[in-house]
Symmetry: C2
Subunit: 244 residues, 2 copies
DNA sequence: ATTTTATATTTGTAAGACAAATTAACTTAT
DNA sequence: ATAAGTTAATTTGTCTTACAAATATAAAAT
């Protein structure tokens, strides 16, 4: 009869090391821009080989928690993560979630409408001149005929992000970024295939105008209009796809 | 004068490989539960060494995109990701975001209040008997005096998740999970230090009741009450901390 | 027929070497 | 003395080889 005293950790060494380091970062023992020990040093301390340490570090790098540079002043450093740095992870997570759980476009766009309405309400109250300038800048890009399709899509994303940021609620911005990214594939497809840029741009102009005037009711109306419009186009596109 | 024709990829090999594999998963070339080639095979195909392949795979493993098993029928497989599987990543992302951008508790809880109100509205309209049963089950756990503090906190999380799920909007649920996780550290601290379980539980009872009766107005009132209550406790806790 | 044993496959870990990048210190020429 | 170029040292990036551990399959023994 064995007492099974050993509480052996079942997961791989590289995962254990990664978890410990992540804990240290989350608990604040390792702060932003702190330099970790060299890989050799870590290998000694954790009593594992360097490849194992490297696998652990790559796990953290995949989460954007650390960055590495070569050379004497190089090494591995803790990242400082803002909404921007986290957005790509959120984007892939959201994209995967949407594609693997067959989320309907309706679900996404209705959720987005609700949340973006919230953002607009707050934006009308709290928008700074800075926020308005960002929106104006993007609108200018979108009005420009010479703007390429790719640039237009990118500007579209930045425009909606700027609305979220204008809410002056960082947590809400963070959440909103996820939704914007999740819907973007659809929006891009529409922009590429139908090129109805002028309609979208006009809606953006009205949105900016409403936020300038702090007219949250009109802002919401415009939002509804845009979401409806995108939904309609999306359904047409789907119908076209079926017909083939 | 060199023409610099070579568009050399600046990032590391392991990152390039990881990106390519991730692309394949996101684009649907690799579906859930598909088995990837063995590490040796991948090394041959990508013309890199096995450690490099492994570093790439660990990057994807950190994102929960793949899992690995040893043995003849083992290998590396594509994960199917639901809201649950993604929640821990969201949790760490949200936790980091909150801690590294000094997000105020007000921002989090006001955002949560708005979103959870939304969930409640939808839940009142669309809740199934299944949803109600989940809520009842958690309430029962919370009413039980013998439930430990840890179990109570876990049940609290599940209760609010169940509300999100009852909205019948998966995208909204997904977003809501993030917020619940982000606020949880605060909620836990309160529960541990003040142990006002009965008040929280009573609020949950009222919430469940309102959703049962499809009374969205009363549901919202109870939500406000709970968020206010948590905010107040949080401020008291902070004041106590200052005084020392 | 059932259990045991061997065996093959695949991921996990280790050790050592060299390459590449990058900075610091040093040397040399002006 | 100053400036530029050179060398050396440090650290991550990659490769090679080898072995360990887990696990399913097939063969062999009971």
């Amino acid at each position: 009869m064995s007492l099974e005293l050993a509480p052996v950790n079942k997961s791989s060494l590289s995962k254990q090391v990664a978890d410990q380091l992540q804990e240290a970062i989350l608990e604040g023992f390792l702060k932003a821009d702190d330099r970790l020990p060299t890989e050799d040093e870590l290998a000694k301390r954790f009593q594992v080989s360097r490849p194992t340490i490297r696998e652990a570090l790559k796990r953290l790098a995949a989460k954007n928690l650390i960055r590495s540079r070569r050379g004497p002043t190089g090494g591995t450093f803790v990242n400082h993560l803002g909404a921007d740095e986290l957005s790509d992870q959120l984007a892939t997570a959201a994209t995967l979630f949407v594609s693997m759980n067959d989320i309907s476009v309706d679900e996404i766009s209705s959720t987005r409408l609700q949340l973006e309405s919230l953002c607009c309400n707050l934006a009308c109250d709290h928008r700074s001149e800075d926020d308005l300038n960002k929106l104006r800048e993007e609108l200018k890009i979108q009005l420009d005929e010479s703007t390429s399709a790719e640039e237009f899509c990118a500007s579209d994303v930045r425009f909606h992000r700027a609305i979220a940021d204008a809410s002056n609620n960082k947590m809400l911005s963070f959440v909103m970024y996820t939704l914007i990214e999740a819907l973007q594939p659809v929006a891009n497809m529409i922009t590429y295939r139908f090129r109805q840029r002028d309609i979208i741009t006009e809606q953006h102009r009205q949105l900016l105008n409403a936020i300038e005037r702090q007219d949250s009711i009109s802002a919401r109306e415009t939002l509804c209009e845009q979401v409806d419009y995108l939904n309609q186009l999306q359904k047409e596109a789907q119908a076209n796809h079926q017909r083939r």
